[in-house]
Symmetry: C2
Subunit: 154 residues, 2 copies
Amino acid sequence: MKFAPRLTIEQVEEGQQLAPRFDADGLIPAVTTDYASGELLMHGYMNREALQLTIKTGQAHYFSRSRQALWHKGATSGLVQTVRELMVDDDQDCIWLRVDVAGGASCHVGYRSCFYRRIPLGSDQDEVTLEFTDTEKVFDPAEVYGDAPNPTKL
Amino acid sequence: MKFAPRLTIEQVEEGQQLAPRFDADGLIPAVTTDYASGELLMHGYMNREALQLTIKTGQAHYFSRSRQALWHKGATSGLVQTVRELMVDDDQDCIWLRVDVAGGASCHVGYRSCFYRRIPLGSDQDEVTLEFTDTEKVFDPAEVYGDAPNPTKL
């Protein structure tokens, strides 16, 4: 599968050719929402191969920056994401995946979504205190991932 | 307003301090969805100042990479985004804005969302033909932006 070369703004914005823009590291951001609820599940990255495999197989593939490797989401955890709809944005530098998640969780910390903390608005405080919007983990990361290294970078 | 230093994985993932991770360019990706419909409207970036202003004012601020400048969304177009809920992800390297959009459009091409084209799945074709999911523009970009340069980069 080939992606089209990016020749004109009109082609990229208003055309029907898939001509994604990969950044200097060869990556394009990928935003993943739950098909049914619309909830934002995760924000990741794809390289060319991950995008091609996602299109071909209908299952979400990403590129793991922490592991520097192609990442078939759910290969370890079983929490496979079945893509119901795949979209590209105006300038084709972002991919949107609308997915069903096997097992109902997407976050390596064990929550349903990676987004389980709210930033309060209107604050002019020196420090911001996050509010948990989800406190119940769907799974125990230690059981699922064992001693695999945590992907979070400080 | 200060952001907390990132000291441990537990603090970042399970704590209540806002300790965002900005990349080498000082940016953090920001995902913006429509509060009512859940639709993905845009994918942008914030620098420290944009995030601080968004928290303080409750209106979406981004950092424009094409213009290399702080960007109060809607300052030119009037399509201001009022933040209803602001979230941060597990490792605090992504911000999620749930917004109401004045005027109902978020995309500089004139569509309601930046995501108006679908990538068909299961294709093993050499070329991918995008499908338009939205063909009606909410506004005429030429009228709104005049001769301001198009932000799309080839």
